[in-house]
Symmetry: C2
Subunit: 479 residues, 2 copies
């Protein structure tokens, strides 16, 4: 029996709250509402829960992540949820040496001793300066930063070109440097991300008590890649959904949301079947929300901000080997490349280290060339980069697993909406405002760890609170 | 009887080509196909044809435009179509003086003698420099311009900030200057438009034999605002649709496009009714095409470029008076404002000059504050700017007509997709490539006058040619 089979379409047709989307945000919201006594139905377009988290089960039963997977310090929401669900984590960090590959040369370096490979150390001032600027940005209202207008008027590339001389770094090298991280973090380029967006993200790489730092975001040790989840990240959603039981309805894309007379009516493909509630929480990627037919029409401000939030372009490509052979060489399996198809590689082996799994991100600009290749060509391009990093032993994997998130009908991109210039200052403030009976969740609406699993969970909790308050207010008025 | 009532849902269910969208692009394609012997059905979501052109009929029967309206030299496609349909144009230019309003002061100037008001003459070098740069950009392949990567990595605002000293212009003033034109041309800001996009647009403000110029785009005399259409711009679509007769099906939003075994099947809301054809031409605003369920799935490259093409935010607000009273003062009715809700006003009176109609564009940044106001507040904000320009006589119009294109379900913005940095170089080349049996039209796919009626017409002609060639090739193979 698959995990899906347990959910049946016998959710009650009339509830307090309908949640659209059974990713981490929607399921967290639903679980929180149920715990506080509200009745809830969750409608999910896919035939599975978990959104941008996805377990891939290897032939031996081991689970690897094909979607979001890492957790780390200050990510209190996801860490708290893991504890509550009794799901274990394990340290990603292995102690081997990392690789930096540039101009055909492999450079080994010890991440215990330094954040960056020596060859990239020259670019530390870029990190330092971005960090400094970010500390004037409040992640809950980046549009009010003192320099918000100026910073939102330029791309990160512009900022580098203007500041490289002052920071005494080579401009082209600095652009390549940030694009190594943008590759998977935003799945975009230095040229298509607003400087203010980057600074707001940095400010959000923390929590209420610890300020956000760029170093935390890019680190394994004591950083956002510190830990992985035993059983795979999708297990969180599977457990949440299991507890919600028949309230979760799969394979039910929401096509229409109508609001009238304090009732919200949600309809899927079969117009004869609909669900009604007092409120709805829409927890889908922002650009997908505009595909729903809204009655009344989604207000222009809500529509237009979401249309400006295209997700990045990212694929996760994994190769399976008998064992993590790179460890015999004293390597961690982590490698970054200045150029090529795969700019970042990780050891993605399951906790028991058998089999060995290499994971490569194809994001941003690299994705854009790679996606047009044939199946075989794409695989070869990825394996060529694995071979460049870890030798010919990487050339013939037991299995190759490609998860291109742009091809997922109900995501169409990953990992997050990376915002272009002008969007934060002119459009973003409306994003989390309710539209009559409808509230919004999803990692893009989060203050901290926006774009991460933690942001998804906190956004679900926040949306549930908003709706619970409204339900309580209504009960108070009835008395 | 309304113009709509003549179209009935008795279009043939099986044809050579289905056209999705009955705007200028779709109808031009359909008319061209029909003329060349192909059978065609046009499916339109709205209860009217015309897309972003829309006639508004005044109580006295006079027609004014609530959507795209101007035509001018080098716009050969729309001018040719007008001739073919025997639709007349009239000169917009009246001979009165124009106004430039800044800091509460009205400045009169004679547009016969100079392109810009004397107060803005200092910014002519900005126009000159943009013109020069644009001449290295081919509008059919802006991504191949020598400096494409650099120009697509920055916003227009960045370019102004970096070049204002060299051009000896005040930077803030220069940004305000370009935003007067961006207000309606892109309905965006200097901060949210790629420099390369602007240059590609300029290069396209011409035709095969005459190079594109920025001056032509912003001019009434011998420029893009030279003429208006007698009977309103929507008349073009109404006449095209009339000739297509029952082939045009209104109120039929396309929900699904399936391609299999050389047949494309298109389905609307009623899953029991569908249309099949050998090919389809999709002629809707690019961001709306992703709302259709595609089977097979719309390829990621096609999906992701369209999601990055949000249309600008623009409303056209018109006030009706007994007569064009501004003429008594020797004014043309044309005014531009440095700031405020309405940065551009035009005399939009019908050809007979009775009644008098003022038209104001609320676009870009101004729209973004204005759209959140109440109906009454929005009207008052617009009329306040009309009064500032033309005196208290403008305060009490006979009628006030507001057409906010962001509120149109089947457009959600206007006038065009103004592209952010990075979109042209990484994403745009795929836009006009066919997806199996499906071809693309719409003004955003045009080489010349992209975003104008002319671009819509040329794109429809181009898509029809592509499909006709395929139909002919298939017939040749059958022989």
């Amino acid at each position: 029996m698959t995990a899906d089979a347990q959910y049946r379409n016998d959710a009650p047709a009339q509830v307090d709250v309908i949640v659209v989307g059974a990713g981490l945000a929607g399921l967290t919201a639903a679980a929180s509402l149920k715990k506080r006594g509200a009745s809830v139905t969750v409608l999910e377009a896919r035939d599975r829960v978990g959104g941008r988290t996805l377990n891939h089960v290897l032939p031996g039963g081991e689970v690897i992540d094909a979607g979001g997977e890492y957790v780390g310090p200050t990510q209190d929401y996801i860490l708290g949820l893991l504890k509550e669900l009794k799901i274990d984590t394990f340290l990603d960090y292995t102690g081997g040496e990392d690789l930096y590959i540039a101009g055909g040369t492999r450079h080994r370096w010890d991440p215990n001793k330094q954040l960056l490979p020596p060859q990239l150390k020259a670019y530390e001032p870029v990190i330092g300066e971005l960090q400094k600027l970010s500390e004037t940005v409040k992640p809950e209202e980046p549009w009010n930063a003192p320099e918000a207008q100026l910073w939102d008027s330029q791309t990160v590339q512009t900022w580098i070109l203007e500041n490289s001389a002052r920071l005494q770094v080579d401009a082209t090298g600095a652009i390549e440097f940030v694009e190594i991280f943008f590759n998977s973090a935003f799945a975009g380029r230095a040229m298509d991300v607003s400087l203010l967006f980057l600074l707001a993200q940095i400010a959000g790489f923390g929590n209420e008590s610890e300020k956000g730092t760029l170093v935390r975001a890019i680190s394994s040790k004591e950083g956002a890649q510190e830990r992985r989840i035993v059983g795979g990240s999708q297990l969180v959603s599977l457990k949440l959904a299991e507890a919600l039981g028949t309230s979760v309805v799969l394979s039910t894309p929401v096509r229409k949301i109508e609001q009238a007379d304090s009732v919200v009516t949600v309809t899927s493909d079969d117009p004869a079947t609909s669900w009604t509630a007092k409120h709805a929480i829409v927890a889908v990627p922002p650009p997908l929300a505009v595909e729903i037919e809204w009655q009344p029409l989604l207000p222009a401000a809500h529509d237009t901000v979401r249309r400006r939030m295209a997700l990045g372009t990212l694929a996760k490509c994994q190769a399976v080997y008998v064992s993590p052979f790179w460890e015999y060489e004293g390597l961690s399996g982590f490698a970054i490349k200045q150029s090529g198809t795969v700019k970042e590689m990780f050891d993605n082996s399951p906790p028991g280290k058998t089999p060995g799994v290499l994971n490569g991100f194809v994001g941003g600009h690299a994705w854009r060339a790679w996606q047009g290749l044939t199946d075989m060509e794409r695989r070869e391009a990825v394996l060529a980069d694995f071979v460049e990093a870890f030798g010919v032993a990487a050339a013939k994997p037991l299995d190759y697993i490609e998860q291109d998130w742009t091809r997922e009908r109900w995501t169409r991109g990953c990992p997050v909406s990376a915002l272009e210039p002008g969007v934060i200052t002119d459009f973003l403030p409306v994003l989390t405002q309710s539209f009559e009976l409808v509230h919004w969740a999803g990692t893009e609406t989060a203050v901290f760890w926006n774009g991460f699993m933690d942001g998804a969970v906190s956004s679900g909790a926040r949306a549930a609170e908003e709706v619970l308050k409204k339900l309580q207010d209504a009960r108070s008025r009835e008395r």
